[in-house]
Subunit: 206 residues, 2 copies
Amino acid sequence: MNKTTAPKAPDHLREDALDRKEIFKGHLLHVVQDRVRLPNAREAYREYVLHPGAVMIVPLIMQSDGAALVVMERQYRHPVGQVMLEFPAGKLDPGEDPVSCGQRELREETGYVANEWAIAGQLHPCIGYSNEVIHVHFAQGLQAETRQLDDEEFLDVFTAHPDEVMDWCKSGLITDGKTLTACLWLNQWLKGEWPLEWMAVGPSRP
Amino acid sequence: MNKTTAPKAPDHLREDALDRKEIFKGHLLHVVQDRVRLPNAREAYREYVLHPGAVMIVPLIMQSDGAALVVMERQYRHPVGQVMLEFPAGKLDPGEDPVSCGQRELREETGYVANEWAIAGQLHPCIGYSNEVIHVHFAQGLQAETRQLDDEEFLDVFTAHPDEVMDWCKSGLITDGKTLTACLWLNQWLKGEWPLEWMAVGPSRP
């Protein structure tokens, strides 16, 4: 069931998977239906999206006065019918490690290459109906190169001050869940509460 | 297309929906595939989950020293194969307004009834493949009654200090996206940065 990293759940909460039915494998989505045994020994069905995992990057541009700007994107998201303000993110390719994915997505979507990376944590965006995990990375030491968007990808790239970004979260201009989680990390890091461990990372070329 | 609240997107980013195909309507999930016209006039398919929307509640228990505790849940989530630490949440019933949904879910899942509610904001947990919106509510003035879990619902309820909860976010014990977003709001509210407007709400009875 590809659940090797799952910690053992207390018996009074745990559900055991019995079997799986393929529901749909489309251009983007892969949906399955698992039959599970509930803690009360009854059976139920759990339908959800199988997802390869993703990486979100909080790209920092350090200014001469020591203040940081962040790089963000404006992108139309058809499911919610809106242009969303987001941090760059993208899906893991098969076998790809998260830092390589972060490097690739940052370069493809924004054109930036970063030489220092920090792994902040992970988030599960949608635990009710998806197994997706998003690795949250910070990147600094940015150099502008050329972006390489996919054929079906259209997005604007811009920079913003973290105070401005926090105001957008408060006012409801930012509602993307992964970006709100990134802002929790960004705010705590800027306040010195949640330190990051930076790693030097050489450029990865396609 | 039920997108009445969507602001008009700039033309260089907007996708226009052409038609829709039903993919799957199961016990839990409703999946559709829309054909869209991209900004470059080419066509693409967007597959995603149609969701009725949900409410998350940050329930506060004010202590005699003025400090707040929050009410949380431990629940096994089959898609991620783990017990997750979460704020209470649940789906909107057809025609239900978010505050009534928050009252209902809080009482069903935790047994608490709250007489003051505040609307913090909204989050879109999964903009790549779901139209779900989660309304973020805070609740205080809690009174314990009897909880009424669904037949297929198993969860533990506990209280925690906000500092402890923030430590769990930092350490990776909390990875649920909606709960991380709630912690951004909780932390900013406790610091006096993001004030909440409280409304007196009478008890809603089933």
